[in-house]
């Protein structure tokens, strides 16, 4: 009787069309948020770069092998490269940002609370895009994408402790500079 052939638990490869389509399904939102966090451009620009990221990844798929987390990091690297190529000399600023569309506010928030959150978010987004690129990336990974400190450390090649300290300092800076930005609004 033929024995069962047990295939090893190898890392996923996104070479076939179906596997790549699945990768897109699982990661398009993360890539979109990451690109949004990097450039703060219009929705159209964020969408353009997200689409270009997946098309470049498709062309390069045979050179990648890894799990879903590594695949997401790989897509972010591609997206970042596109952003650097296109935006190197351009100051990133939020353009035509419709906070209504991207803020998740509790349903039971009162109109006053909702207004406060909207105003604070407008200031915060403005401050976010004045951060140095590397610090903004860490904030985007931690909060917009909800990555753990360890995952960010792995992706950026830094120590987890360094990431934790960096995040804490950024939050302190955001708080300390809040009034300046609010007055500038």
């Amino acid at each position: 009787m033929a024995k069962n052939i047990t295939m090893p638990d190898i890392a996923q490869q996104y070479i076939s069309k179906s596997a790549f389509a699945s990768l897109y399904e699982h990661t398009n939102r993360s890539v979109y948020r990451y690109v949004y966090g990097l450039i703060g451009g219009s929705k159209q620009e964020v969408e353009d770069i997200t689409a270009e990221t997946f098309l470049k990844a498709w062309d390069a798929r045979k050179r990648f092998k890894g799990n879903m987390q590594q695949a997401t990091g790989w897509l972010f690297t591609i997206a970042k490269r596109i952003v650097i190529d296109r935006w190197r000399k351009r100051k990133v600023r939020p353009q035509n940002v419709n906070l209504d569309e991207m803020l998740v506010i509790a349903d039971d928030a009162t109109p006053e609370e909702r207004t406060t959150i909207m105003e604070q978010s407008r200031v915060l987004v403005s401050m976010l895009y004045d951060l140095p690129d590397d610090k903004r990336e860490i904030i985007v990974l931690r909060y917009l994408l909800n990555w753990s400190v360890n995952s960010i450390a792995e992706h950026t090649g830094k120590k987890p402790n360094t990431i934790s300290v960096t995040i804490r300092r950024i939050l302190q800076d955001l708080r300390d500079n809040w009034s300046d930005y609010q007055e500038g609004e």
């Binding site: 295939m7 090893p8 689409a51 098309l55």
Partner: protein
């Protein structure tokens, strides 16, 4: 003017920023390459055989369920595009081993070995078809040797060394007739696979020989097809060119020897990845 938030409030605000892609992105990606239907290309012979196989499929399956090995072999023969199915699982033959008459000089052996190491460019120049090279090779595999036969078929070997003890080989054959007459056992299992949308065939196993020398010097050899060996291979055809990729090692491991975890071991997925990367 709102009150300056504390750090925990800023964290909460950051978590609330969740931009979402519009449907327009997904609609746009509908035309992306991975969402396009595969175009399956078969050589003329394959198309004919596939049509015949489709017509006979149900009959063959029913027949093979109820009859013995030779009948199953016939069924496989009709279903397989690339392989010649042996009528038996075993072959036996006897011969008298001749006495060695001469020793091959070392320089002849060396010259033979050297002739087996032409650069890939030379193989390509001598081939009768435009050869394709794998753009993806698993870590540790390097080009080792190759040759072009009189029919212009190209045979390349890539190897992986695990210390001094084990060597693993990836053989890539391509040309007009590399699959011609390639025989597998009646009990071999032919599995259809997709290689960039083109249907190929995958087989795990090889012929293994047991040799018994009788007292009168007669050598009796029994060769049996074994589905559980380390050797496995893919065959497919594209634009009139046939391709085969073999994986094997210098030792005859079986699947019970912890192979999947062995360094350099190539799985079916690896073989397909290599095949799909050839350009």
């Amino acid at each position: 003017m709102t009150q300056r938030p504390e750090e925990k409030d800023i964290e909460r605000l950051l978590f609330q920023i969740q931009p979402e892609p519009d449907d327009s992105l997904h609609e746009r990606m509908q035309s992306a390459p991975w969402n396009q239907a595969d175009t399956i290309e078969f050589p003329q012979k394959s198309r004919y055989l596939l049509r015949a196989a489709a017509t006979l499929l149900i009959t063959v399956l029913l027949v093979s369920l109820f009859f013995n090995t030779p009948v199953r072999s016939v069924a496989q023969q009709m279903l397989s595009i690339f392989f010649t199915i042996s009528p038996d699982e075993t072959r036996e033959h006897s011969f008298e081993r001749p006495e060695p008459t001469a020793t091959i000089p070392a320089e002849v052996i060396q010259a033979t070995v050297e002739s087996r190491r032409p650069p890939i460019e030379t193989l390509a120049a001598n081939a009768f078809v435009e050869i394709k090279l794998p753009q993806y090779l698993p870590d540790g595999y390097v080009y080792e040797s190759g040759y072009t036969d009189e029919s212009g078929n190209v045979f390349m070997t890539f190897s992986f060394a695990e210390g001094d003890r084990v060597r693993r080989f990836l053989n890539i054959h391509q040309g007009n007739d590399v699959t011609h007459g390639f025989e597998i056992g009646a009990n071999a299992i032919v599995q259809q696979v997709s290689i960039n949308g083109v249907i190929g065939e995958y087989v795990q196993g090889t012929w293994m020989t047991e040799e018994v020398t009788e007292t009168d010097g007669t050598v009796n050899m029994t060769t049996r097809w074994n589905n559980d060996t380390e050797l496995h291979f893919l065959s497919w055809s594209l634009d009139g060119v046939s391709y085969q990729i073999f994986y094997q090692s210098s030792l005859y491991f079986t699947l019970d020897d912890g192979l999947p975890d062995a360094p350099g071991y190539l799985t079916l997925d690896d073989l397909i990845a290599i095949a799909e990367s050839m350009e």
